[in-house]
């Protein structure tokens, strides 16, 4: 199978990136040392090619009502243009189809960014739901014209570059004249358009910064301008350890269609209190979770990895994501464990032929340049 490539592929190769098959995409895993790249983002700033992620525009007059039904989080929280919201998209049975960010562009236009590996499945699901979702028109219309259609467009023409780190915003401002005036006042989780670019103060590292969506053919020039302003390229390897330290879920590892958001640490994104109905709500109300996602800090020497079994006083759980934390210089993990396991508990993790001791901690582990768990 031929791997898919982003418009920055040649640039990565010229830079000497180590390229890997990343869910069907030919992507840079690192450009040298993954740990150095991790520290570069925590301490200064770096840029990631995340063009494999998919931008989906949803337009039409009934879009807000459609998204109120489609997403577990409530888009009514989005009142100002450019504001963003993190949400899960659920199956009827409460399983997670994907996690995503939805941006409010205007009353008839919302923009959603979904994961690369799930994009086609997500769009098919959205289209199916939109077809079944009929919004009554506010004014009576002649027979046959009484409904609004929702248009779902996969923006395969767009690339996305994430610039992350304490110095990310100031370096973007030097690289892109005019961007400071437009984006300086953006609060976290909001965005502004500049020419053909859409600049969002969002990310997946636990650091400040921007995610910039722009026409794919313009991405190499943006990359060069950022590089000329001292922004170092960072591979997807460091992106994974940064997001894990920041306690951010990775779809396909920390949750998928077989588990719900409440057992995936996403209760804060699910609106079960309001009257609003949404896909999966009835299942979530009918099935209170008996597991939850917690952080683990390995006290013994070794490295926690996904799928290792976690033995607790309340029963067995499993690590969903585990790695070495360059910031803490210890191994950390997210694990799904019985719901009565408490922060501070000591648990045993089966690694090869040994049982190693780990402590249950509240995550995130590190954000904004430093450790935030007590060691």
């Amino acid at each position: 199978m031929t791997l898919k490539t982003t418009s920055l592929n040649a640039v990565h190769r010229e830079t000497g990136a180590k390229m890997v098959d990343f869910g069907g995409w030919d992507m840079p895993v690192n450009y040298g040392s993954q740990i150095d790249e991790h520290h570069q983002v925590r301490r200064d700033c770096g840029m990631f090619d995340v063009s494999h992620m998919r931008v989906v525009d949803i337009q039409g007059e009934g879009v807000r009502e459609f998204l109120r039904y489609l997403l577990a989080n409530n888009v009514d929280k989005l009142t100002l243009p450019g504001k963003a919201l993190y949400s899960a998209m659920l199956l009827e049975n409460g399983g997670v189809i994907d996690d995503l960010i939805v941006y409010f562009m205007g009353e008839c236009w919302f923009r959603i960014v979904v994961n690369a590996g799930t994009a086609d499945k997500d769009i098919a699901w959205m289209k199916k739901q939109a077809g079944e979702f009929v919004v009554p028109h506010p004014n009576p219309l002649p027979e046959g014209e009484g409904t609004q259609s929702i248009v779902i467009t996969s923006r395969d023409d767009l690339a996305m570059v994430a610039v992350q780190g304490p110095n990310a915003r100031s370096k973007v401002w030097s690289a892109l004249p005019g961007s400071k005036e437009l984006t300086e006042k953006l609060i976290p989780f909001s965005a502004a358009a500049m020419d053909s670019m859409f600049i969002a103060r969002t990310g997946y590292t636990g650091e400040d910064g921007f995610e910039i969506m722009l026409p794919a053919k313009a991405a190499p020039l943006l990359w060069t301008k950022l590089k000329d302003n001292g922004v170092k390229p960072i591979g997807l390897g460091a992106r994974d350890t940064l997001r894990l330290e920041a306690g951010m879920n990775l779809y396909g590892q920390d949750m998928d269609e077989t588990v719900g958001p409440l057992e995936s640490g996403l209760a804060w994104t699910v609106d079960l209190k309001s009257e609003r109905d949404f896909i999966g709500k009835a299942a979530l109300l009918a099935n209170p979770p008996n597991q939850k996602l917690v952080g683990l800090l390995l006290l013994d020497r070794g490295v926690l990895r996904g799928h290792q079994k976690v033995h607790t006083a309340q029963g067995t759980g499993e690590i969903t994501s585990g790695s070495y934390s360059p910031t803490l210089e210890k191994s950390i993990a997210l694990a799904r464990v019985p719901k009565d396991v408490a922060i501070g508990d000591t648990v045993q993790v089966a690694i090869r032929d040994k049982l190693l001791t780990a402590q249950v901690v509240k995550y995130p582990f590190a954000r904004n340049g430093k450790a935030v768990v007590s060691l």
Partner: protein
């Protein structure tokens, strides 16, 4: 970095150096450390343990993945490199100096049967193509 010609090699990417006292030092090759990336943990075999040739006896873990290390020949573990506990990155920085453990081989002739640098390079080249 080329593979030193005074060392012997295995298809599972260990290097073997014969020391003056007849013991052998074992580490992992440049190719292996490059594949694994930044090392963060090394688990060496216990001293005095008897290993059989090609037995799994140690583990190296990078940020990315864990990999087994195999005994190149049969023999007894005589010493482990404790420095790697606190500085596993030595393997990345200088793989042919960062020995993991030493063994006293049961049969010194077993070493001669291992690959030389050229034969090992052919193994690496075949993996890359």
């Amino acid at each position: 970095m080329s593979n030193p010609s005074n060392l012997k090699y295995t298809a599972s990417h260990e290097w073997v150096k014969t020391e003056a006292d007849g013991t052998i030092s074992i580490g992992i090759t440049q190719h292996a450390q490059e594949l694994l990336g930044d090392m963060v943990f090394v688990e060496a075999p216990a001293v005095d343990r008897h290993l059989k040739a090609r037995e799994e006896c140690a583990v190296v873990e990078s940020v990315k993945a864990a990999a087994d290390v195999y005994a190149p020949v049969s023999g007894i573990v005589t010493e482990v490199n404790g420095e790697l506990d606190s500085s596993p990155e030595n393997i990345n920085n200088d793989p042919y100096a960062a020995w993991m453990f030493k063994m006293k081989p049961d049969n010194a002739a077993d070493i001669d049967a291992l690959m030389d640098a050229a034969a090992y390079q052919a193994v690496v080249d075949s993996e890359e193509h």
